[in-house]
Structures are given as C-alpha cells and as structure tokens.
C-alpha cells in the first residue's frame, strides 16, 4: 500500500455531498468530507479512527465507484493550480464554512394512506424562521411541532404521536443540538427517529460530529425549501410514485 497516494474528490463525490441525497455509508461520507479537495492516504488515515490499511480499502471502493479520483502527478498539479487560482473563492468558503446538503436514505416505507399525516418536529430558536418552516411544511401537509429550548424539546419529543422526523438546529439557547441528537440515539423509543441537523455555519468538524453521532442528514441555512423537503423525503424513505413525484403526505 502506498501511503503517499493522492486522492481527490471527483465531481460525482462532490455532488454526493451537496445533492441532498446519498446512498453512501456514514463512514464513506466522512471520508469524502475529510478529503475536502485532495489528500494522501496517510493524511486521511490520521484524521479518522482507522488505520491506513482500512482507509486505503475504503478509498479503493470509493474510487471504484467514482466518488474519489486517483490523480496522477499532472492531474494533482492541475488541481493544486486550480485551488491556488481560486484563492478568493476559497477564502470566502473558509469564512463562511461550507455548504452541505447530506441526506442518507432510509429503507423504503409504504406510501401513505389518504388521511395519513407525518409529523415533523422543528427545533429552531429563531421564532421567525420556525414560523416560516411550520407554514411551509403545513402547506406540504405535514403535522408540525416546534421547539426552541431544552424544556420544549423534551415536551415535544414526549408528545404523541412520536415525530416521524426531526429538524434539529445545532446552536440552541440552552442546549447543544449535538447533545440532543446523542440523547435521542440512546433513547429506547426515539433512537430510530430520523434527524436532519441544520445550521447557519457548517464546519467540517461539525458535519463529522453530526454524522458520527447518528444524524441522517445535514443541511446548511439559508434553506432552499424544495431541497429541504427533498431531504425530508429521503430520510423518511418515502417512495416515489410512478409519475416521479414523491409520495409524500401532500
């Protein structure tokens, strides 16, 4: 195994991170996020709790499927030159974190019955944004609950029916969204509820933390509502109808 071998994220790999849906495992997504441009096997292995051989095996699979490339020296140089030329763009990305829309598909569930509704719990401390999300999701025929504080979250999670999906803001006034996620994943009845983390500022570390703690998706604000809805359908495992539309609650 050559630990100095360079890998880069391909366009397909980039699209997997930003396209709003993915079939990759959490570990594979982590690898893509970690590569973040180009990196050697050695560099990647240092960033994850895997030895270099395990990282190389996973990279080989991702390369086979076209998510990462294995550039020769010329291609790597070209990428580096491109990154240098795009310094202004990179600086802006670094200042603003980076935009991600990751949603991991759950196993397909049955299409909903005519009167069946799905419940979304929106955990968001910005009251105006919470109202906007509530209204938009109601238009899509979801039942919507909102919560902003630790106490409200606890109450909303206990209230029947159990939420079908949770949109969970990372930064909350009196509790960390990641802690809420961790507690849900340890809870007997809530551990399988799909959770999409939402944030205005996504650092690489924050995305990794969310994925490692069992988030099904990660969406950065500002919200693109159709894409947010798409992510919700993906993590709910809702099937598509014959006409290509989602068989959502609407």
């Amino acid at each position: 195994m050559d630990e100095k071998r360079v890998y880069m994220v391909t366009l397909k790999g980039g699209a997997e991170l930003t396209g709003g849906k993915t079939s990759l495992t959490a570990a594979e997504l982590e690898l893509l996020v970690l590569i973040d441009g180009i990196a050697t096997v050695e560099q990647i292995a240092k960033r994850i709790p895997l030895d270099a051989a395990a990282a190389a095996t996973m990279l080989a699979k991702l390369a086979k499927d076209g998510y990462v490339g294995d550039p020769d020296a010329t291609a790597a140089l070209t990428v580096r030159a491109f990154l240098k030329e795009s310094e202004a763009g990179l600086a802006s990305l670094q200042a603003s974190g980076f935009s991600v829309r990751i949603a991991r598909r759950r196993p397909d569930r049955a299409a909903l019955g005519a009167d069946e509704k799905l419940t979304v719990l929106v955990v968001e401390d910005d009251a105006a944004l919470a109202k906007l999300l509530r209204t938009y999701l109601q238009m899509e025929d979801f039942e919507v609950r909102t919560a902003a504080t630790r106490e409200e979250i606890t109450k909303a999670l206990r209230e029947p029916p159990k939420p079908d999906v949770v949109l969970l803001d990372v930064m909350l006034p009196d509790i960390d969204g990641f802690d809420v996620l961790a507690k849900m994943r340890q809870h007997e009845t809530l551990k399988d509820v799909p959770v999409i983390m939402t944030t205005a500022k996504a650092t690489r570390e924050a995305v990794l933390t969310g994925l490692q703690r069992g988030a099904d998706g990660y969406v950065t604000k500002p919200y693109d509502m159709p894409l947010l809805l798409h992510a919700i359908y993906i993590v709910l495992g809702l099937p598509k109808r014959a006409d290509g539309a989602w068989s959502g609650p609407a």
Partner: protein
C-alpha cells in the same frame, strides 16, 4: 386548482416574509446597540441567527454579510480593541446596505 387551505397558508407565508422585512431595521439597530454596549456574546448570537434566517427570507446578501461579521467577531475573542470595534461597526453598516437587496424567497 389551489386547495383553500394551501391558499390561506400561502397568504400566511407571504405575511411572515413581510413581517420579517418590516422588523429588520429594528433588528439591525439592536445589533449596533449591542456593539456599543460591548455585549459581544449576545451580538455573536444575534448575527448567527440573522445569518441563518435572512437568506431563507429572500435576502441572501444580508445572510452572507451577517456570516462575515460573525466570523470576524469569532476571530476577535472575548474582547475587542478600538480598531476591531471600528471594523465591526463597518461590517454592521454593510448589513444595512445588504438588507436593501431582496430576492424572492
């Protein structure tokens, strides 16, 4: 045909966007006051909130400006000197400029 309930929710959606924009000058003035009073933790939190919401309400430039101000404040630590305070004042003024640019949410 648009269902009556969806139609009323759409009206509500438009009203929420209008309300957000109407309250914006007050929110921006509040940010200036927080800087003047050196309540930096609160200022950071308010900028973070604005960064998250403005784009969704059809003002992406305002969201980006708020994110830039938050990132600068992050880099300053828990206290700011005069030069940093002036730079923050400039960044907050940019928010006001950016709030004039509205796109459809």
């Amino acid at each position: 045909m648009v269902r009556p309930r969806v139609s009323s929710l759409r009206v509500e959606l438009d009203a929420l966007v209008a309300e957000y924009r109407r309250e914006l000058p007050q929110k921006l003035a509040h940010l200036d006051a927080l800087l003047a009073e050196a309540r930096l933790a609160r200022l950071k939190r308010e900028l973070h909130t604005l960064a998250g919401s403005a784009g969704t309400f059809g003002m992406p430039r305002l969201g980006e400006a708020a994110l830039a101000a938050e990132a600068y404040l992050d880099s300053c630590g828990s206290r700011v000197d005069d030069a940093q305070r002036a730079e923050l004042g400039r960044l907050l003024a940019l928010l006001r400029e950016a709030s004039a640019t509205i796109e459809r949410p």
